[in-house]
């Protein structure tokens, strides 16, 4: 089973690392926020792989559902440079 689990682990890891990098790299604040959400969701995937399904669901409920929304709120509340028309 361990051999097989390495595959999803690798996939989720790649997603998580990639999106984490994008959180920092991305120019748009909104994109950063969504990449952050993706990273937190992949963390939920790790919990599933560890058979901690309650923690996984809680991760989605709290981090994605609540903290993610709070980040979105923060994005909506910040000033952005007005585009030059």
């Amino acid at each position: 089973m361990i051999d097989l689990q390495i595959i999803p682990f690798a996939i989720i890891s790649i997603i998580m690392i990639g999106s984490s990098i994008m959180v920092v790299k991305s120019k748009e604040v909104v994109h950063s926020a969504f990449h952050c959400v993706i990273a937190m969701m992949s963390a939920a995937g790790f919990y599933v792989l560890l058979s901690a399904q309650f923690v996984a669901v809680v991760q989605i409920l709290v981090y994605v559902g609540a903290i993610g929304v709070m980040i979105l709120f923060a994005v909506m509340l910040t000033t952005r440079n007005q585009e030059v028309e």
């Binding site: 669901v57 559902g65 929304v69």
Partner: protein, 353 residues
Amino acid sequence: MAIIEIYDLIMHYLVIIFATNDFAPWIRGVLGGLVIGAVFGGALVMVYLERKFLGDMQSRIGPNRVGGRFGVLQLIADAIKLFTKEDIIPAKADKWLFIGAPIVALTSGFLMVAVIPFDLLVIKGNEYAVAVSRMDISILYLEAVSGLAIFATFMAGWGSSSKYAVLAAFRNVAKMIGYEIPLGITVISVAVMAHSLDIVEIVEAQSSIWFIIAQPLGFVVFFIALLADVGRIPFDQTEAEEELVAGWATEYSGMRWGLAFFAEYLHAVVGSFIVTLIFLGGWNGLPIVGNLYIPGIFWVIAKTIMVMMLFIWIRAALPRYRIDQVIDIGWKVLIPLALLNLVWSTIIGLLWA
């Protein structure tokens, strides 16, 4: 009698295929596509019912051309139309968010479908739930996954880069966060009485008394919060056409709009399923049928259609709230009521246990 024996036999083999071998989860996952298709079909049925019954309630005719007098094929015609329409992404739109929004909305709907049980089979003393996946915490999982739909609307609104859409996206986020909480509290109230977070066990706990009778207040709160969650009248401020044109879907056209639209109906259908399962007794039949054996799946679907009709009826009967009133109701009315219901259900649950 023979029919029931054949039915049992079929179920026996299905259980062998789907539940008792090493590759069962994979088979269920792949064949779960069929379930998605079925629920998608349910969404189509809901669209059709909505158009037809709304027409009846508003003394109109509704669809009546394609597919005979009742226009049953109207939706097929609509689908063909959507497929052949041009796909337009506005130049100013944020392309990734714009494309991603229907995907997130649909994925969230699909994930909810995964844990919905349709029946409970007892074969050779073992219980098998007719569901793609059975978890111990399925109701919590549903809560969590349905929350993802917030992102879909936000992505659509923000990505469109249209003022109406942005306003709608903001309204949607503000509304959803107010209604997730009463939704969660009522779900907990149900779980308190069933002592479990598993939907299958919640339904089984209703074999003697449906939770709508045990906690009518909870049902009302849950239903209202669900209406807000799936964004139907009187809580469809995000698509309030008179001020925001089409809300977050303003810039969507053709099939891309169709996907977003279907995702919304998918959520409504799944919501109806959840109401059926946690309040209306799921596959527990009404005693009126006597000894006649009716498969549980029939009950689930029949009750779900009743709930969908209730949605349609409410849409025909009520005007729309204003956004500040919606948020007021969520925080100041529904949350206290939901907490009250939690106390009530805890007491009842204790007496019951």
